[in-house]
Amino acid sequence: MKIKLGKIIVVLASLTLAACGDTSSVDTINFMVYSPATQESINALKQLIASYSTSSGVKVNLITVEKENYDETFRSAVRNGKFKPDLAYIDQPLIATYAQDNIIVPVLDYIAEWDDIELSDFNQEVLSTNEYQGALYGLPLNMTASVLFYNRDLVNDANVPTTWEQWKNFSVPSQKALFEGIGVGGFAGWYFQAFAKNAGGDIYNSETNQATFNTFQCREAAQFLKDIYRNDTDYLIHSSSNPFLNGDCLFKIGSSFDIGNILKQKPQFNLGVALMPSQSGEEHYSVMGGENLVITNVSKNKDKAADLLHFLLQEENNSLLSSFTGNFPAITEYAQTEDARLQIVLDQLEYVVARPVVPNWIKINDNYLGKAIEDILDYETNRDITDALSWAEQAANTLLG
């Protein structure tokens, strides 16, 4: 009896240890992705990966994770997870942090072996989000740009503003607000870059080693935002949930994935899409979003991970993967649409600006720049523009320095 019990314990312990160990073997790779929103998309993704496994003979463990919990799961998985990812999605502003910590590896050597895809095929601004300290740490899978949304029941297509002056002086019906705003924290910081750029400035210098929030152009951009957002009669509208979707706001900023979401929530919503208005009315800058694909340093099958990356970047596959998030493939040639609204997003992508690829950018964006913009636009805080932006700039440069 004792011997039997002992054997059982040994077998159980061995099984447990095996389960806790690294599962990757020579012919298996782990691919971590955002979980697609619908079951149909999940099935399509599984089918795509299955077709790769069949053609290559490489088993791929597909690890789908909700976008909200993705970074935390990725970090845990890389550190000590059962399924250490070989290939994974990464949000653009995180490339520098992971590269600095040696979690992801440069990919240029792998791409050099491909004869059908070249770096020049990608949207260069989107590609630049993978460049950190002279090395390329990933490839962009998809991309999107923020654009101006308007309610066509309240705004005539012919009157959509193209300049700040037109936007500021737009005639607003009573009980409505002109602009929904640019959100708080991270969103406020992210969207503000587009306004700063449209005012002729930027939020960081060309070496990306210094924040330039408190320049004349940035102050002008902040003042413009205050002008279009802050109106005492808008106070309650701005505090309500989804004022744009409820028909209480004329304009808001959104991206390609928001188009699908809005029409899914309210199919009858009369949504109009336009390029971001600029100060001069000439170049309509905007900010970009999207996901990059990276090969992790913990991968024991980097070559196979690169091979899967290559497969995913093929036109049909890239288009399918991009469609899950409502974005466009980052390879310019593949980025096409027949939808008039999405075409505006494609046009806007010609004027996108990237976030700087530096570690800690999320903290700088969310806690300093975003907080400053939030305080400037807040009805109660009503912080002075120069005071808020100079504080944010000083704080950001403490981290960047």
Partner: protein, 317 residues
């Protein structure tokens, strides 16, 4: 020999029952406490394999660096304000509702169920309902604003957002607190009430001289758990205001540091600072608040009641 074998067998049996609990305590409580304290002394970002031992630098930075951690002191103050609002409100409402339910009203079970429903409802669902109710343009508040031309903006104003969240939290936990207190009230010796009545005491007198002293230990337990809960509050802020409008509590700050900014070391240091704050507040509570009515007021009343009964019996003879 046989006794010794039996003793060994029962010892093994005893340990076999204890081991799962001991393992649970070690793996899920003691080890994380030790590990997080160790991390609080490092600059680990939760990603890389390497980290540097920085001593108490994280603690000093959190307490003194207003540029890197501009919201720390503000979040402490917000948490204190939240606690000052929610704890007394919770205690008063719990006492009130439990006393009413204890007064043998009709439909006691129905009301108990009603009060307990929020405690068994998912926090996200509760938050979604309150967000709708408090929406300044569409919910109940929106209706009031439109009807009376008011400008109520409860979750959108710094003056009202935090008290509103505290109220919602108190409302959510009321059912549980009431059940605990009510069960304590049900155990009060009815002779004490009779004695109080003989003394000419009315409802209020009975409440202050019998009910309150008798439930003091339970009340102290509720105050203690409410205090810990208030200092660790997070979910309402996360779900309803996203930490905006002056509702960033210390737990929310820790969450942001850990999850969004990859400062695991600093987040752990902040957690230990929170632990010290809670320990300090609880120590004050243990010192100042009466913890038992049983040994002083309760037993005095009981003795008094017994004496009254004896006198009555003697008179009857």
């Amino acid at each position: 020999m046989r006794y010794s074998a039996n003793k060994t067998k029962s010892t093994i049996l005893g340990w076999s029952f204890l081991i799962p609990l001991i393992l649970y305590l070690v793996v899920f409580l003691i080890l994380p406490i030790i590990i997080s304290f160790f991390y609080s002394l490092t600059n680990w970002n939760g990603i890389g394999e390497s980290y540097t031992f920085v001593g108490i630098k994280n603690y000093i930075q959190v307490l003194t660096n207003r540029i890197l951690y501009p919201d720390f002191w503000e979040s402490i103050w917000t948490t204190i304000k939240y606690a000052l609002f929610s704890i007394p409100l919770s205690v008063i409402l719990t006492l009130l509702v439990a006393s009413i339910l204890n007064s043998k009203i009709k439909g006691e079970k129905f009301f108990k169920t009603c009060f307990y429903i929020p405690s068994v409802t998912a926090g996200v669902a509760v938050s979604a309902i309150w967000i709708f109710l408090l929406d300044p343009t569409y919910g109940v508040v929106g209706f009031l604003n439109t009807t009376f031309d008011w400008q109520l903006n409860i979750l959108g104003s710094e003056k009202t957002a935090l008290p509103a969240l505290a109220f919602i939290s108190v409302w959510g936990g009321l059912g549980y607190n009431v059940l605990i207190l009510l069960s304590s009230m049900k155990n009060i010796n009815s002779q004490l009430y009779e004695a109080c009545e003989i003394d000419g005491g009315g409802t209020i007198s009975k409440f202050f001289h019998v009910t309150l002293p008798s439930v003091l230990p339970t009340l102290f337990f509720l105050i203690t758990t409410s205090t810990i809960g208030a200092f660790q509050t997070f979910d309402q802020m996360y779900l309803m205001t996203g930490g905006g409008k002056g509702t960033t509590t210390i737990m929310f700050e820790i969450y942001k540091l850990y999850m969004n900014e990859y400062e695991v070391g600093t987040a752990c240091a902040m957690s230990y600072i929170l632990f010290l704050i809670i320990a300090f507040v609880l120590a004050i509570q243990f010192k100042l608040l009466p913890q038992s009515g049983g040994t002083s007021v309760f037993s005095r009343k009981e003795k008094y009641a017994k004496r009254c009964m004896r006198e009555l019996q003697q008179e009857a003879h």
